[in-house]
């Protein structure tokens, strides 16, 4: 196959932004994505940014795709990257290889599973699947829908389902378990929601966060929170009920709802609530299928295991860069800013971009982060700081090793 200056894995906002930056500077760029449609997670996104402007992810994706094509980026859509070998060579499904001296890994985020009994029944899906079906494919995933898990994504998707005319019977907690961790605890969720007030991407989230802004009210709220839930723009937020099983034979027919106390413990009473669709939100984690050779660390503030990287987004593997949610869970605008840095860093290495431009791009990532209309993890700034420290330590270690060998 043709040789390129840089091969990019993932045509989400990070990968496409990296491709545009490198190609507009004059680099020869290949982008591979297993989905036939470029855009990654942008495709399903839809939230209100301000009073009369909406973030419509599929439009942003189309814009990035057109700009990449105009800059001469070669897109390989519907092809999966199975492995990466030094040099660098990307092994694609079906046996083809793409080679390039530089690589950008922008494989994004995936959703954690939430295996409550009955979760394999047709009609049970992740909130992400429901989001893409509703907003991109324009098919409502059900008529009466229960959402399980309380986080910015589940609240956003519940609102999107409601806008699409579905009857969202409630947003419930998952069962209290090792798996759901604090997610099954009403008090924890109230605190967490209150922290979202300033981060809220839409009126719905702001309303949910506004319920519980003051800590004293929050403590009492966990006890006094009504079992029937509190309606947030028409969707009941059920912080005193958890879904303990999903029922049905050929497809979802009902959910088993269990009343819980302020600590999340079941109070014994359960009942069945008829629904035809259940959307599970277990949280997001960075996809690390191809970063195996890079030094990495588990940083919970960023969503899990992440590769360590320099300010220029280079990993401990020379000429292997990362960008976007593979480095930690954040909104699309941050992913785009990181992608631009990685693309310009490659261009600078090829002698195609001024170092000053790269420095400006690096500086703007933090600005974008501060003004991002959506935040998934409350302490992401702290996570980035930790990752930076670990990188500095790893860099020193590498230098020491290199000197020892010299």
């Amino acid at each position: 196959m043709t040789a390129f200056d840089v091969a990019i894995v993932g045509a989400g906002p990070a990968g496409l932004s990296a491709a545009i930056a490198a190609a507009e500077a004059g680099g020869r760029v290949a982008v591979v994505d297993e989905n036939r449609v470029p855009g990654g997670r942008l495709l399903g996104q839809l939230h209100q940014e301000s009073k009369d402007s909406w973030w419509i992810g599929q439009k942003v994706a189309a814009g990035l795709g057109e700009r990449a094509a105009a800059a001469g980026v070669e897109l390989f859509c519907g092809r999966e990257v199975w492995g990466m070998h030094p040099g660098w060579f990307l092994a694609l499904d079906g046996g083809d290889t793409i080679s390039a001296p530089h690589v950008v890994l922008a494989s994004g985020a995936a959703e954690r599973a939430m295996p409550i009994p009955g979760w394999t029944l047709p009609g049970v899906m992740t909130v992400g699947a429901a989001q893409t079906l509703t907003n991109f494919y324009r098919v409502r995933p059900g008529q009466r829908i229960a959402v399980v898990g309380v986080d910015p994504l589940s609240l956003t998707v519940a609102h999107e389902l409601k806008m699409a005319g579905a009857d969202v019977v409630g947003i419930f907690l998952p069962p209290l378990s090792k798996l759901s961790g604090q997610g099954g605890h009403p008090g924890h969720n109230l605190g967490y929601l209150s922290g979202l007030a300033s981060l809220a991407p839409n009126a719905f989230l702001r309303a949910a966060a506004g319920l519980v802004r003051n800590p004293v009210a929050r403590k009492a709220a966990a006890r006094l929170y009504p079992e029937s839930g509190v309606p947030v723009l028409g969707v009941p937020l059920k912080l005193k009920q958890s879904i303990t099983a999903i029922e049905g034979d050929e497809r979802v027919r009902a959910v088993e709802v269990t009343d819980i106390d302020a600590q999340g413990r079941p109070k014994g009473r359960t009942r069945l609530l008829e629904v035809d669709c259940v959307c599970l939100s277990g949280g997001l984690y960075p996809v690390q299928e191809l970063t195996g050779g890079c030094a990495a660390a588990r940083i919970d503030e960023l969503g899990g295991q992440v590769p360590l990287h320099s300010e220029e987004m280079e990993t401990t593997l020379k000429n292997v860069f990362v960008a976007g949610n593979v480095t930690g869970i954040e909104g699309a605008k941050v992913a785009m800013a990181q992608g631009t840095v990685a693309g310009l860093a490659v261009a600078a290495r090829l002698g195609l971009a001024e170092p000053a431009r790269l420095r400006d791009a690096i500086a703007s990532v933090d600005d974008v982060r501060r003004t991002s209309p959506i935040t998934f993890l409350p302490n992401v700034g702290e996570g980035r700081r930790k990752a930076g420290e670990l990188w500095a330590a790893a860099g020193t270690h590498q230098q020491a090793e290199a000197q020892a060998w010299a």
Partner: protein, 103 residues
Amino acid sequence: MQRLTEHPVLGPLGGQPISFEFDGIVYPAIEGDSVASALLACGIRTLRRSKQAGEPRGIYCGIGHCYECRVTVDGKSSVRACITPVADGMVVKPGPAPAEARP
């Protein structure tokens, strides 16, 4: 499930109507649909059955990660219905081809 021809923010739905076959029956779709979204719009949720117990399986992750949505498309086995665009006249069968079926 229902096709959202209108949407308060996204507006009316475009796209050419096409048709394809699933399990011997012809269904309508809209150009741009995935195999999974087209079937869901027609009320079909079950895309395959587990080999051992014959339990029904459908869309779960919707982005090609979980492989719950495996079908056979024009004779090609183990294709993920959620990331495969539907095409006019396409022939889709539930599950992977029998020889390859996994639990």
